[in-house]
C-alpha cells in the first residue's frame, strides 16, 4: 500500500513537472498558438525550413548586430547549440534585415559556430512579431509556440538548464 501511494505521488509529481516546467527569469509560458512560417537561407545559400509535426522541439531566435543584448547573448547561445542534440531541439537563429557582410563579420567575431539564417528583408521577423531584439520562441514538436524568451539570457545558468531538462531537450535530462 505504502509503495502504491509513493508511486502515485511520484507519478503525480512528475506529471506536474512535465506539464509545468519551472520558468526561469525571462521565459514566459504563452497560450499555445501556431508558429508562423519560417524558411530562410543561411550565409552559404542553403535554405532551412521549419517543419511542424516533428519529433523535436524548435528554438527560434531573432537578433541583429546593432543590439547590445544580442551581442552579449551570442556566446551563451553558441554553447547551448553545441551542447544540445539536434534530434531533440533544432535551432533557427535569424538575423533581422542586415547585409551578409555585416552578419558575416559580426558572427565571425562573436560566435563563429552559429549558422545564422538571413531574414534579408525583415518580413519573416515581422510575421513572428518579437517583442524586441533579441527574442526567442520555443516551439513544440506540433509547431505550437509554447514559450517566449524575453531578451538575452545566460543559458548556461542552472535555472535555464533545469528548464531545458524539464522540457526533455537537454542531454543532461537523459
Amino acid at each position: 500500500m505504502k509503495h502504491f501511494i509513493a508511486c502515485l505521488l511520484i507519478s503525480i509529481f512528475s506529471t506536474h513537472l512535465m506539464a509545468e516546467p519551472t520558468l526561469p527569469k525571462g521565459i514566459i509560458k504563452v497560450s499555445p498558438r501556431p508558429a508562423p512560417a519560417l524558411s530562410l537561407e543561411n550565409l552559404d545559400g542553403q535554405t532551412f525550413t521549419m517543419e511542424t509535426k516533428t519529433a523535436h522541439w524548435h528554438f527560434v531566435h531573432f537578433w541583429a548586430s546593432w543590439c547590445g543584448p544580442c551581442r552579449r547573448e551570442m556566446p551563451a547561445l553558441q554553447k547551448l547549440i553545441r551542447a544540445i542534440p539536434k534530434e531533440k531541439l533544432k535551432f533557427y537563429i535569424v538575423n533581422t534585415a542586415e547585409s551578409e557582410d555585416t552578419v558575416f563579420s559580426f558572427i565571425g567575431s562573436v560566435a563563429p559556430e552559429i549558422d545564422t539564417l538571413l531574414d534579408r528583408d525583415g518580413l519573416t521577423t515581422e510575421l513572428w512579431q518579437p517583442r524586441g531584439l533579441p527574442s526567442s520562441y520555443i516551439v513544440d514538436p506540433d509547431g505550437q509556440i509554447e514559450y517566449v524568451v524575453i531578451g538575452g539570457q545566460d543559458w548556461q545558468k542552472p535555472e535555464y538548464q533545469l528548464f531545458l531538462n524539464q522540457l526533455g531537450v537537454n542531454n543532461k535530462a537523459n
Binding site: 525571462g26 533581422t96 534585415a97 528583408d121 525583415g122 518580413l123 517583442r131 524586441g132 524575453i150
Partner: protein, 208 residues
C-alpha cells in the same frame, strides 16, 4: 643721463600701472566669459544629457541623440543618404525601460504627454515613418531595421523585462517636459505609474 633715466623710470612706472589696469580688465573679462560659458553649458547639459527616473517599480532613461550619432548609426547599417537626410528632420531620444516590479507594466506611448510652452508635441509614429520611407522607396530591409530601432508604441512589460528604443519628435529648439503614464497589472487596473522628465531638449549637431 640722469634725466633720461628718470624719464625712463617714470615711463616704466606709468607703463606698469597701465599694464596692471589692463591685466585686471582682461581678468575680469575672462572671469565673466567663464561664468557666462558655464551657465550656458550647464543649461545645455541639463537639457541634453541622459535623464534617469528610478523608482522601486520602474526605471526609465531618456538620452537625446545628436543628428551625427543617428547618422553614424544608420550609415553603419548601410542606409542610403536620402534616408539619413530624412532622419535630420526629427529629434531622436533613446528610451530605456526596466520593469522592476512583480506586476505587468503597460507601455502605451499614446498616453505620454510631451509639452513645450503648453503646446503638445506628438511622437512621430512608426506609420508616419513608414509613409516617409515608402515615398523615398527605401528598401524593405532598411525599413525593417529602422522600425526595430524604435520603441514599441505598446508593450506589456513582464517583471524584470527591459526594452529600449528610440522615440522621435519633429526637430525643435524649445525644451519640453515629458510625462509618461503607465497602467499596471494584468487587467490594467493596478496603481498607475507616472514619471516626469523636465527640460528635455533635442541634442544639436556637435561642432568639430
Amino acid at each position: 643721463m640722469q634725466e633720461t633715466l628718470h624719464i625712463s623710470k617714470c615711463s616704466i612706472s606709468l607703463y606698469s600701472t597701465e599694464m596692471n589696469i589692463l591685466r585686471s580688465f582682461l581678468r575680469l573679462i575672462w572671469l565673466f566669459t567663464l561664468i557666462l560659458g558655464s551657465i550656458h553649458s550647464s543649461h545645455i547639459l541639463a537639457a541634453t544629457q541622459r535623464q534617469v527616473v528610478d523608482k522601486p517599480t520602474i526605471r526609465m532613461t531618456i538620452t537625446p541623440r545628436t543628428p551625427q550619432q543617428i547618422a553614424a548609426f544608420y550609415e553603419g547599417r548601410e542606409f542610403p543618404k536620402t534616408a539619413i537626410n530624412a532622419t535630420h528632420s526629427a529629434c531622436f531620444f533613446t528610451v530605456g525601460i526596466h520593469n522592476k516590479s512583480k506586476n505587468i507594466i503597460w507601455l502605451d506611448t499614446l498616453r505620454w504627454q510631451l509639452k513645450s510652452n503648453n503646446s503638445n508635441i506628438a511622437i512621430i509614429s512608426k506609420k508616419q515613418w513608414a509613409t516617409q520611407w515608402q515615398k523615398l522607396n527605401l528598401q524593405t530591409r532598411f525599413q525593417s531595421t529602422f522600425r526595430w530601432t524604435l520603441l514599441p508604441q505598446k508593450l506589456d512589460f513582464y517583471p524584470d523585462e527591459r526594452e529600449a528604443g528610440n522615440i522621435t519628435i519633429p526637430r525643435q529648439s524649445e525644451t519640453f517636459n515629458l510625462t509618461a503614464h503607465f497602467a499596471t497589472g494584468v487587467d490594467k487596473r493596478g496603481q498607475s505609474i507616472v514619471l516626469e522628465f523636465k527640460d528635455l531638449q533635442c541634442a544639436q549637431e556637435s561642432k568639430q
